[in-house]
């Protein structure tokens, strides 16, 4: 089969790209291993809701407003939302089609799938950043008798043995899972590495509303100090809940969760914790306060006083003077370890020499270092917003424009060609 562009992945990013390519009248197909929004459907825990409010899922071409704009979609609602979007834009999705390999062929690529092969001029990788759980190498040293899980396998506390749980990682997944497990009566120890603390609401508005207005989400990958660092930053410590509640380390210690430092290793059945916890929480507080100060400065010059509540300070994170430096995994106290240590993409099917020494696709804002190969739907791909569903529209617009110029003259649009609309 032949087409001009193959988009791999029918999540929000692949679908937004489909819409943008259609606007350029570029012939394409969207290949999906399962059904639309497959990961959202099958790889998330039961209670999860989106971290961003409903109004903040602005996908291109089909403004869908569903339910309370300030609410947070559950996973079934998210799946339904993305399905409706796919239908609204008439995306040419081929479901139940798993990509086996992508190889250079002629002036383009040969995409081999379980449902046949496609020859195309360009490929857009939209399979997401969260394909495989990313575990530290010492995760294999959890003693027998203690169950290891990742947020991909975790569904709800009832699947866990009674007894203590060590949750490793304090980004959004870790803190949300820690909270519900603690509430289920299983005492939780939470290992805290570098994290990004923000309040759910500030001065009467959702924090993401402020970040949107102030321009935080529009910061370009070309403006940041180290793009490698910002692409690896953990997700915001937030929960989307009907009551818009805060969930931070103070809330967790208030519930009885025990905080320990970043896990440094497992030796002789003991999980060793770093003594750097006080610095990490202080650093997160300082960064949060810098963000709030930036919001205050913006608000004072852009909003009338009666539009918002006055500024308020947020309690610093409380940590014990001497947090435990080890957690014994052999005493029977800990029955389960949950590795909320992040995800990595799976590009093992991509047979194109485009990977860096750490196995990541080399790219410049989504334009991969191989002609006609594109990447979308990754953290800070082109801007901070790229990490969100809400970022797919601008990234798809930029990349489809580049792709169109590449198709018009493949020689002119090199991999590092300056991108339009970088800001």
């Amino acid at each position: 089969m032949r087409t001009t562009v193959v988009i791999i992945g029918a999540g929000h990013a692949g679908l937004a790209m489909s819409h943008s390519l259609a606007e350029h009248s570029i012939d394409h197909v969207v290949i999906e291993r399962g059904t639309v929004a497959h990961s959202w459907r099958t790889e998330r825990w039961d209670s999860l809701r989106l971290l961003t409010p409903n109004w903040m899922s602005r996908l291109p071409g089909a403004p869908l407003t569903v339910g309370d704009p300030d609410g947070f979609r559950t996973m079934p609602e998210t799946v339904a939302f993305i399905e409706r979007y796919a239908a609204a834009i008439g995306a040419p999705v081929h479901t139940d089609t798993t990509v086996l390999s992508v190889r250079p062929r002629g002036d383009g690529y040969l995409v081999t799938t379980t449902q046949g092969t496609w020859q195309c001029q360009a490929v857009v990788v939209a399979t997401g950043a969260c394909n495989l759980p990313s575990l530290p190498p010492f995760a294999t040293r959890v003693p027998a008798g203690v169950t290891s899980l990742t947020p991909r396998d975790y569904r709800n506390p009832s699947q866990l043995a009674p007894g203590g749980v060590l949750v490793v990682g304090a980004a959004a997944s870790g803190i949300q899972i820690a909270e519900e497990i603690q509430r289920s009566g299983r005492p939780v120890t939470l290992s805290v590495g570098e994290h990004v603390r923000v309040p759910r609401r500030y001065r009467g508005r959702d924090i993401t509303w402020w970040m949107d207005r102030v321009g935080v989400f529009d910061e370009s990958y070309t403006e940041v100090d180290s793009v490698e660092r910002v692409r690896g930053v953990a997700s915001l410590q937030l929960i989307g809940s009907p009551e818009h509640r805060d969930l931070d380390l103070n809330a967790l210690t208030g519930l009885g969760v025990r905080l320990v430092g970043r896990l440094a290793g497992i030796s002789g059945g003991r999980a060793q914790c770093s003594g750097s916890l006080p610095n990490l929480v202080r650093m997160a507080d300082l960064k949060m306060n810098r963000l709030l100060a930036r919001i205050d400065a913006w608000a004072s010059s852009h909003l009338a006083g009666d539009e918002i509540e006055p500024p308020h300070s947020i309690e610093p994170t409380r940590v014990d003077a001497s947090p435990p430096l080890a957690v014994d995994l052999t005493s029977g106290e800990i029955r389960t370890v949950i590795w909320a240590t992040g995800y990595r993409p799976d590009h093992s099917w991509l047979d194109v020499p485009v990977f860096d020494r750490k196995g990541r696709i080399r790219h410049d804002g989504g334009v991969a270092a191989a002609p006609g190969l594109y990447l979308i739907g990754m953290p800070f791909l082109r801007r901070r917003r790229s990490s969100l569903i809400d970022g797919a529209a601008s990234d798809a617009r930029d990349l489809s424009t580049h792709l169109a110029s590449y198709l018009a003259d493949p020689a002119a649009a090199g991999p590092a060609a300056p991108l339009l609309g970088a800001a």
Partner: protein
């Protein structure tokens, strides 16, 4: 608030450091360093350490001169007090590492430093090293570092300098995280 943002001179060549960072990102093998020290027993608990050569950037390197450090224990340990105790040298190493980081980060952030003073305390129950109580560890039960910093910056900016310095400090990492230590004889 910060008064001078345009220029700061803390004596750190940040451009060279950033250049090295860029170069080592391209060739990670050159980033593999080995640090060395040599130690010789003198008498009693007195010993002398020297540092001279190290390996880095793919080749043997050498300090401008050989540096020496005496170590001993105080008289109340029935020693002759010919030098600092090894644990005090550890505190000195931590302080030197953090302070170097503060200067470098301040330079990068264009913050002029005027004075940086650190005082460190390492609390220790010596029942551990004396073998009196097996439940007491040999090392510090905790370390506190107190910085006094005068700089053209807000208190929050100064705190952020100190926090960033800890984040990037080798000795802070060595002390806060476990490290495999292999000791061989002959």
């Amino acid at each position: 608030m910060r008064t001078t943002k345009e220029s700061a001179d803390n004596g750190v060549n940040v451009e060279a450091l950033l250049g090295a960072r860029e170069a080592l990102t391209q060739s990670p093998e050159a980033a593999q360093f080995v640090w060395r020290a040599r130690n010789e027993w003198v008498r009693g608990t007195h010993s002398r350490s020297t540092v001279e050569g190290f390996f880095g950037l793919g080749a043997e390197q050498r300090h401008k001169t050989t540096f020496g450090y005496e170590a001993d224990h105080p008289e109340l340990f029935a020693s002759e007090d010919n030098g600092a105790t090894p644990v005090e040298l550890v505190l000195a190493g931590l302080a030197s590492c953090l302070t170097a980081g503060i200067a470098a980060v301040a330079q990068h952030r264009k913050i002029q430093l005027h004075a940086v003073t650190a005082t460190l305390e390492g609390a220790m129950d010596i029942q551990g090293i004396l073998g009196i109580d097996g439940d007491v560890r040999n090392g510090f039960s905790g370390i506190t570092v107190h910085y006094r910093i005068e700089a053209d910056a807000s208190p929050e900016e100064i705190e952020a300098l100190v926090a960033q310095s800890q984040k990037r400090s080798a000795v802070f990492d060595i002390i806060t995280n476990p490290t495999n230590v292999t000791v061989a004889v002959n």
